[in-house]
């Protein structure tokens, strides 16, 4: 259980940061509104990812599947930041 907890905790955090950053970089909305949208979305994403992590029957699967979602999101971050 601990390993799945850490998978959700760590990857969930990174993924939530990554997704809201992507939204921030993609959507043409004014700065303060975007910060608010990011804030409203970030915590539910983090908790949701953790719940998803717990739904796997093994910790290995949880780490793998969650990482498979994180990697593309981080790559999009890198592309968007380099184009900025």
């Amino acid at each position: 259980m601990w390993s799945r907890t850490f998978a959700g905790l760590i990857i969930g955090l990174l993924l939530s940061v990554s997704i809201v950053l992507n939204l921030n970089l993609l959507l043409p909305i004014k700065e303060d509104t975007m910060l608010l949208i990011g804030l409203l979305l970030a915590f539910p994403i983090w908790a949701g990812i953790q719940v998803w992590g717990y739904s796997f029957t093994s910790a290995k699967k949880a780490w793998l599947k969650l990482s498979l979602v994180l990697i593309p999101s981080v790559l999009i971050n890198a592309v968007l930041l380099s184009l900025r």
């Binding site: 959700g8 940061v17 796997f56």
Partner: protein, 532 residues
């Protein structure tokens, strides 16, 4: 969702709930009471400083002159005046007094509606103690983040609970099978959980925002603003109106005129807080802060340079920033400060209901483990969970009840009063947990302990009328009902404790309880030869 995933999620839901249960119970119990923090502070303090007059406005310049004459106010420290309101006749002044070049002490003065200093409030902060317990458990530095992590796991438990219960969420919405032992606990857990779901989600989310916002603040500052935190804060609506200190001494004067200017500029507002930056320096600035009560969650603020009267900043709508506006809405929802007592009573009921959800969750886990075969049981775990449930949960209510009693009986002017009450609180909680760990008949212990707690909770209103009846009557005559509000809250809690003791922890040796005691006894006997 397939069967294996659902099973994994159900196990995780139970595990997460169990791990955070004691801390979450403390957070929710202290938080529910803290909805009435202002009432508790007034309950503790006002009867000792009962006033016989009401005043619409405080003469600010007169207050400042008196305080500046009697105290050496630290120019670099805080100076905050909490204004009297329709609900609170007394004003509270907080500032730093300079004792020597390096030494400062916090001062809290109580002011009558006419501005006269009528006492010191340094030793009266029972309401604030409970509130701090709610948000950081009185753990210095890391307590805030620890509570934030617990909030995150609470959010996880909520979402996983919804997923697990999803297929039955409509069909079994009102199901409550009172005759089956396990069914009763499960149904109560699900019923209160589903009925209060929007409330729970709001609290999990807002708790996370208050306690773990720093994580996203750092990541945003690093990635989007190149590590420049000040740029992020500007985008987030944090306004810096700080003036550089001139080191020219100038008495603070003219606040009443500036107050009138602020009222005229801000429009519909009730100013509840006045703060001064750089007190006594030529650069001193005063900020008037308040809320527009005709609108939902709208904060207003005006800052002026005191010496020249120049306006430094003015906002009529949450700092004219969407993020600040959003945070203000989240804050109003969390504190239930937008619809009078009714919404706070509702939130209090739901908060205590959440405590009941946590309790039933733990009891179901205990029941499930007891029903396992002896060799499959983790007896130390079982004992610890039982002790944390009785000692930790009931201990928290008991310690709070003791805190209320001592907040009433210790003289208000006693030195170290607040510290003594806080030591008593933690002493009671710790003792309750230790005693629980050493008691075998947990159910009987829980029932008796809850009934004792109920009696102590019910004693406080009696003590109120024995110790400060004159003060209470004086406040009631002026239309201030804080004492009554707190007394009703305490009596409701006492009734709740008594009912739980009578219904859930039936005060007789039930079959299940005998089984638990027997199981623990057998295993202890089995494990003894191995350990010797």
């Amino acid at each position: 969702m397939n069967k294996d995933s659902l099973k994994a999620l159900t196990n995780a839901h139970a595990w997460v709930g169990l791990v955070i249960s004691t801390i979450l119970f403390i957070i929710f119990f202290a938080g529910s009471i803290s909805l009435f923090r202002d009432d508790i502070n007034a309950w503790e303090l006002n009867p000792h400083f009962a006033v016989n007059e009401q005043s619409e406005t405080l003469i600010l310049d007169s207050v400042i002159n008196t305080v500046a004459k009697d105290y050496n106010i630290n120019t670099h420290g805080y100076f905050i005046l909490s204004m009297p309101t329709a609900e609170q006749p007394l004003a509270n002044l907080y500032f730093e007094e300079k004792i020597s070049a390096d030494e400062h002490v916090d001062q809290h003065l109580i002011l009558a509606p006419n501005g006269k200093v009528i006492g010191k409030g340094n030793g009266s902060s029972w309401g604030d103690f409970l509130y701090e317990l709610h948000y950081d458990l009185h753990i210095p530095e890391v307590g805030l983040y620890f509570v934030g992590i617990v909030c995150l796991f609470f959010f996880v438990a909520l979402l996983s609970g919804v997923v697990i219960h999803w297929r039955k969420i409509i069909s079994k919405f009102f199901q409550y099978r009172k005759d089956g032992k396990k069914d009763k606990l499960l149904d109560a857990h699900n019923l209160i959980g589903v009925m209060g779901l929007p409330f729970h989600i709001m609290y999990a989310f807002s708790g996370l925002v208050f306690n773990l916002l720093i994580i996203y603040q750092i990541s945003y500052a690093v990635v989007l603003y190149g590590g420049d935190q000040s740029k992020l804060l500007t985008a987030a609506g944090v306004v810096d109106v700080h003036l550089d200190e001139t080191k020219i001494v100038l008495p603070v004067q003219g606040l009443d005129n500036l107050y009138l200017t602020a009222k005229a500029s801000l429009g519909e507002v009730s100013i509840n807080r006045v703060s001064i930056d750089h007190f006594g320096d030529e650069s001193a600035a005063v900020t008037f802060r308040g809320a527009d009560e005709s609108q939902f969650s709208t904060r207003k603020e005006a800052t002026y340079h005191i010496a020249s009267g120049r306006e430094l900043y003015l906002t009529k709508d949450n700092f004219d920033n969407d993020l600040r506006g959003g945070l203000s809405v989240i804050s109003s929802l969390h504190f239930g400060d937008f619809a009078g007592y009714l919404i706070r009573v509702l939130f209090f009921t739901l908060g205590i209901g959440t405590c009941y959800i946590i309790l039933t969750g733990n009891l179901m886990w205990i029941q499930k483990k007891v029903n396992l075969r002896v060799e499959k049981q983790n007896l130390i775990g079982l004992k610890v969970v039982y002790a944390m449930t009785t000692g930790g949960f009931i201990g928290t209510i008991f310690a709070s009840a003791v805190g209320f009693v001592f907040a009433r009986v210790i003289p208000i002017e006693a030195i170290g009063r607040s510290d003594l009450i806080s030591y008593l609180f933690f002493g009671c909680l710790f003792t309750a947990i230790v005693v629980s760990l050493n008691i075998k008949a947990q159910k009987q212990f829980a029932a008796i302990f809850l009934k004792i707690t109920a009696v102590i909770l019910a004693i406080t209103p009696i003590l109120d009328w024995l110790f400060v009846s004159q003060g209470i009557m004086a406040m009631l005559k002026l239309g201030y009902y804080h004492v009554i509000v707190v007394e009703v809250m305490l009596l409701s809690l006492a009734l709740f404790c008594w009912l739980i003791a009578s219904r859930l922890f039936v005060n007789k040796r039930t079959e299940a309880d005998e089984q638990i005691t027997e199981t623990i006894n057998i295993s202890v006997q089995e494990q003894t030869p191995l350990s010797t």
